[in-house]
Symmetry: C2
Subunit: 402 residues, 2 copies
Amino acid sequence: MLAERSGHRLVVTAVSARDRRRDRGVELSAARWYEDAAAMAADPEIDVVVELIGGADGIAARVVETALAHGKHIVTANKALMAHHGTRLAADAEERGLALSFEAAVAGGIPVIKTLREGLAGNRLRRVYGILNGTSNYILTTMREGGREFAEVLAEAQKLGYAEADPSFDIDGVDAAHKLAILASVGFGRPVDLAGVYTEGIRHVSRLDIDFAEELGFRIKLLGIARLTDSGLEQRVHPCMVPRATPIAAVEGAYNAVVAEGDFVGRVVLEGRGAGAFPTASAVAADLVDIAAGRRVFPFGIPAADLRDIPGVAIECHQSAYYIRLMVVDQPGVIADVAAALRDEQVSLESMIQRGRAPGEAVPVVLTTHLTVEAAMRRALARIETLDTVLEPPRLIRIEDF
Amino acid sequence: MLAERSGHRLVVTAVSARDRRRDRGVELSAARWYEDAAAMAADPEIDVVVELIGGADGIAARVVETALAHGKHIVTANKALMAHHGTRLAADAEERGLALSFEAAVAGGIPVIKTLREGLAGNRLRRVYGILNGTSNYILTTMREGGREFAEVLAEAQKLGYAEADPSFDIDGVDAAHKLAILASVGFGRPVDLAGVYTEGIRHVSRLDIDFAEELGFRIKLLGIARLTDSGLEQRVHPCMVPRATPIAAVEGAYNAVVAEGDFVGRVVLEGRGAGAFPTASAVAADLVDIAAGRRVFPFGIPAADLRDIPGVAIECHQSAYYIRLMVVDQPGVIADVAAALRDEQVSLESMIQRGRAPGEAVPVVLTTHLTVEAAMRRALARIETLDTVLEPPRLIRIEDF
């Protein structure tokens, strides 16, 4: 099938992995076995090296660098590598006339890289955003559907193998930040800038917030967002309040989705499985077919030398509406103190909810604001946090404008 | 921007249109003007001809054929042309080493052709389906949201310019059938077979059906569906009952969406604007960038000579669950007669709804069935229609299995 689609027969010539004996369900005896993957990458009989090891440095980087140095095309699923070294590797590949393909690095089997780079090539993008981490989306969905707390759902996800023993990569937004940095480069023609991605995960999202979100007509999603503003490019990964009627609000469980907003095409939404062996294989195979068919494209859509350093926008300068949840002592005057702190920072309230009464006890109070600069919001919250009647650090969730 | 993305500057060298004087908002004085588009297609200084005329035959076909004969690549938005003559034109283009690109012919700015042909090249598809006609989807959405009847909404859509004065092309499913035939070829590697598409539009969907659909947890959508079964390839365009939780159920108004189900990738959903000058321009520009960059692909994903004649499945052999609405006289025994007709054809009922009572008057009765062969369903309905107590031809809407 791949031969028919690419015009060339693809042959697995050599393989390297940690454990030679593991049954992978495919016959590999005809392929040369390498204990050292970097040595394999130098094998003169190989045209393309597929790197599925992972990690920004170490052996994965050595494999890719060795392969490029030996004139081999690269297909990789390695988002950390591309997020940290993508620009340099792309420049290297271009110089040598080689392909560097990484469809599998972002959103699994969904062809988002191809879509941004080729399918929407006629557009200037305004914003690219998406649900880029399936584990976080699964946890948020399960919390909402089951009315359960974060810690409990995370523990269960770990037991089921949906989350790693060290879940930080997923739930602290690191994985999504890698993917967003890559998407932002492809979408906006700038060098990959992982350090410029503001990153905040779902660790502090509580069931209370999820319930209030529903009440306010929102759903909470961990989004990666790259947005071109008058001051530069925002790159942010954080939980978002998403209006329930927006397509991305309906993307549940382990599914990923990416939305691109272009000046000609308007809004395009792509949704599918964002992880797993089979979706990854789908993306790798597509890259291999393109390479075998001789279809070349600049890894980031334009020559690496032409990638432009669009200035980044610091999160403090970000303008957003905000959802704020406070735990306060239910007594007269609390709201007045909170409102005064907001007023002093010119934060304009859009709504306030305090459900139920429990005089003298802790109760949640939820505020939503109109568009506010984040620095002002943070100053107001710092002052609110010092109030005796405010019992926990305030929770802030950004309300994205869709 | 396009030069940076493609590596070549694109120049509009010549233009042909019906009216030279119309202000198109772009400066065209540097381009040669042709009264005869076919003559333009033979212009020796042109590399690529963009055909945006429309129509399966006549001048559009002559332009494309002339251009190919003169060694020019083709970009076209012409679904009728591709649906009627796509296989032949693709073979012709391949033989001459020319591109025949038609992203704009299906689902406007959504890069569905590229996704099926390249992005999902590692998959065997099981099913491709979608909302392919924005006018029909707009009418169905407006009927549902406003609780209004088809004729009224259509008349309004015509006044607003969303529907043509002769709306048949849209509302009778012809436009969607063109697009489905193209998608089925790209997705399943078979010659375009427009005649093999069973086509039924939304003309007979009534407000009653929309209300019952809501009650049953469905939404009514005009879908184009190509599905590989054990007996061959189904190609169908007809109104469908779609479970409300399925992503495509949420695609409203003039938006289009295409869903591909592959053996590796699982389900991929693409959504966006399916029509209009700007989304069409987005697709055309993407095709031009690919051509300028020298990226060649077989128009239907594999060589035209290798397209396989997968047998088609007649609609009579289609297996589906069904929604049936009858208008009956509210009197004892009616349901028994209806049930007997179904039983005699081995049609198994899943549910029955008769809301309200109006003895001796006309009332709607809604039935849903388990999986049934369409021929049996039709025989049962033919017999039900002859019952004295059944006042109108029964309405049938297929319930697609998602």
